[in-house]
């Protein structure tokens, strides 16, 4: 049962890119509750040295046990931390998600064309219903400031004292993953700071949220990076991370790992429509293996003013501003009709990482590449009307196309070609069966 549950969870995370948890921190559990962070969603807004990071989390466990230690590249003050809107991150996710497009073959006996496109949307969400009491705050000597932002109690640890972080956490009954000392130590030596966020149940009840809203931090630093090392410590196996970079100029890529485009614009059999999530997960698994588990994958790169086809509407200037895109005006006419924002380029990166294959934190750079890229998969439905002419030629062509799609799908996903063929409704099968059986062995 447990295995099934794990697999199901992974499916959600990969296929829909929605079920996620906070990233760069490690979760610390009170008492013996085991908490794991398996996947995360991070929005990185960056222009010059100014950065706004939004960490959406899909924490699975009792809220009272939720605590996250977040390293930030520089000293931060109270005003630099904010609690964001989860629906905007979900909107960004939907807008950038890999999409499935379907086309319908025209009547082979007539000359007209029509198509419609549909995008993958059904994105299951995990919702936290648990309410629990928060343990009393403990203000040890290492705490510089403590305040409540939204439903979170935030403890900012001061520069000098943060090296007592480990001791403080241990004194406060937090369970630390093994090896945390070394990692925390290395961050401290690089002048990074930490803050701890816990859920304030009283505030949460007052606000009425049933889930944890994303935490946002604004800071100025020359470091364009994401600390992932802490995250590898207490995770069970590999973790999924989605990074949405919002920049002014162009695509974002990692400088210390390969950034690879996922295969896109592929024709796939029609049955994939019913199992797009499985298809996408299998394809991602396969590509991770092809790249020896060492690559970061590009899933979307686009000017935020438009999309084609749109998996969801582009984000409004207001929404982008809430995510921290500080260089666009948040007001201008947005009350009448939300306009897509100009001058914002989005990059969606997807990485599956563990300590072995990703020993170093992710370091990014903004490139001048403004070429649009999207994960797009195409279904072509054969024409299924009453023929007014001889369509055997058309049917043969379609069967050949279906066979090509089957092989392509097998290549992309590693699925068994016979299983795939069994699921495909080959057109004119009755006629096809007249073909000698050996024709399909080596084809």
């Amino acid at each position: 049962m447990r295995i099934i549950a794990t697999l199901a969870a992974a499916a959600v995370a990969v296929a829909a890119a929605t079920a996620v948890q906070a990233f760069c921190g490690f979760y610390v559990a009170r008492a013996d509750t085991s908490l794991f962070n398996k996947a995360s969603q991070v929005v990185l807004v960056r222009d010059g040295n100014r950065t706004v990071i939004t960490m959406a989390n899909d924490f699975e466990g009792e809220v009272k046990d939720f605590a996250v230690v977040i390293p930030v590249p520089t000293k931060i003050e109270r005003e630099q931390i904010n609690v964001g809107d989860r629906s905007i991150v979900q909107h960004l996710d939907a807008y950038t998600a890999p999409r499935l497009v379907e086309y319908h073959d025209p009547d082979p006996c007539m000359r007209y064309e029509r198509y419609k496109s549909s995008a993958d949307s059904a994105l299951p969400q995990s919702v936290l219903n648990e309410e629990a009491k928060n343990a009393a705050r403990s203000l040890g000597v290492t705490i510089e400031a403590s305040y409540t932002v939204g439903e979170y109690d935030i403890l900012v640890l001061s520069a000098k004292e943060s090296d007592g972080l480990i001791r403080w956490l241990q004194n406060n009954d937090y369970k630390l993953p093994r090896g945390a000392e070394r990692v925390v130590d290395s961050y401290l030596k690089q002048d990074m700071r930490f803050f701890v966020a816990k859920v304030n149940l009283e505030e949460q009840a007052k606000l009425g949220y049933q889930y944890l809203r994303p935490l946002q931090v604004a800071y100025e630093s020359s470091k364009f990076m994401l600390p992932i090392r802490l995250g590898t410590l207490n995770a069970k196996g590999k973790q999924e991370l989605y990074v949405y970079a919002l920049t002014r100029t162009g695509r974002v890529e990692t400088t210390n790992y390969r950034t690879v485009k996922l295969p896109s614009d592929m024709d796939v059999p029609a049955f994939v429509q019913g199992e797009f999530a499985e298809f996408y997960r299998a394809m991602f698994d396969q590509q991770v293996q092809v790249e020896n588990e060492r690559a970061v994958f590009l899933e979307y790169a686009w000017d935020m003013a438009w999309c084609d086809p749109c998996a969801a509407d582009p984000l409004s200037a207001q929404e982008l501003r809430k995510l921290g895109v500080f260089w666009i005006g948040g007001q201008g006419g947005s009350k009448i009709a939300p306009m897509p924002a100009q001058g914002v380029f989005v990059t969606r990166l997807h990485v599956r990482y563990d300590g072995e294959h990703f020993p170093e934190d992710l370091v990014f750079q903004e490139t001048g590449d403004r070429q649009n890229y999207q994960g797009r998969y195409v279904i072509r439905h054969p024409w299924k009307g009453e023929p007014s002419c001889d369509i055997s030629q058309y049917q043969t062509e379609v069967r050949q196309r279906q066979e090509r799609e089957a092989r392509q799908l097998a290549n992309l996903t590693g699925w068994d070609i016979e299983d795939i063929r069994a699921k495909i409704e080959f057109v004119g099968t009755a006629e096809a069966q007249k073909e000698p059986w050996w024709k399909r062995i080596w084809s």
């Binding site: 162009g250 790249e291 590449d369």
Partner: protein, 281 residues
């Protein structure tokens, strides 16, 4: 007999090996790594470089047109420069070769041509970038690159620049790992960067823009390594080595002033009778 000697002499020119290795890398990059090098741009860069070299040959009244050096510069540029704009690709080649003829000091050009073009375009335009992570860090690939590069270097007989750079930079990375209590997998990962190795074997090693003496070259390599490290790990900016090389290029004439040595000439291996009184390009 004469033809045979001529052929042998030609084969002894290390630049043929260099061109072969760089082409191999380019082929690997396009076919296996698929990191978006457009062959049209590669061609554009090569043609522009050759045309500018030809113009430069006339301008400097050189005894003969030499296509090998601009070809090497074009290949290095193609491997490292990323842009969406054809005009920028052509401009890069023009700047690279042009700098050889115009920016000179005491009979040598000051900057490595490809390095000069890369840095000046990165400063001038936001449509140019270097994808240092795109070579990946597969240990085997790094090893193959290093060996191939070494072949070029031993032919060029100036391996000390590369070795010194790798030793200095490696020492800094491992030193940092010790200081930060990093597992050694981190500096190892950093050293296995394909772009870093291409830089070490094909850019900093350029015998024409390094000091004339062996000690001078080691000193220069150490300087480049330190500046690269500072850019990368103190200021947290990408492309440390490439920026460091251009900054340190200005120290080469200084080092040469204090340490006398012979100016390297590609041609001396090929034919000792042909030597230019105008300096070497």
């Amino acid at each position: 007999m004469n033809t045979r000697n001529g052929l042998l002499a030609t084969l002894r020119d290390p630049r043929y090996y260099q061109i072969a290795v760089l082409s191999l890398l380019l082929g690997y990059g396009i076919a296996v790594l698929d990191f978006g090098i457009r062959w049209q741009y590669a061609l554009l860069i090569v043609i522009t470089a050759l045309v500018v070299q030809f113009a430069g040959t006339l301008y400097a009244k050189l005894p003969r047109f030499d296509p090998l050096s601009p070809l090497i510069t074009s290949l290095s540029l193609t491997l490292l420069l990323r842009t969406d704009e054809a005009a920028i690709a052509a401009l890069a080649a023009g700047l690279a070769i042009g700098s050889k003829f115009l920016l000179r000091f005491r009979g040598k050009h000051i900057f490595n041509p490809a390095n000069f073009a890369l840095v000046s375009l990165m400063l001038l335009s936001d449509r140019v970038w270097v994808s240092s992570g795109q070579w990946g860090s597969a240990a085997l690939g790094a090893f193959a690159l290093a060996c191939l590069g070494f072949l070029v270097l031993t032919k060029a007989k100036r391996a000390e620049t590369t070795i010194a750079f790798i030793v200095f930079y490696g020492a800094l990375l491992f030193g940092r790992a010790l200081w930060l209590d990093y597992p050694f997998s981190i500096p190892l990962h950093q050293v296995q960067n394909g772009a870093l190795l291409i830089f070490a074997f094909f850019m900093i090693s350029d015998p024409r823009t390094t000091p004339n003496t062996a000690i001078g070259r080691v000193l220069h390599a150490g300087l480049v390594a330190s500046v690269a490290y500072t850019i990368q790990f103190v200021f947290y900016q990408p492309n440390g080595p490439i920026l460091a090389l251009i900054i340190c290029a200005l120290t080469v004439p200084l080092i040469d002033m204090f340490m006398q040595g012979r100016i390297y000439r590609w041609e001396q291996v090929v034919d000792r009778r042909i030597s230019s009184t105008k300096g070497v390009f």
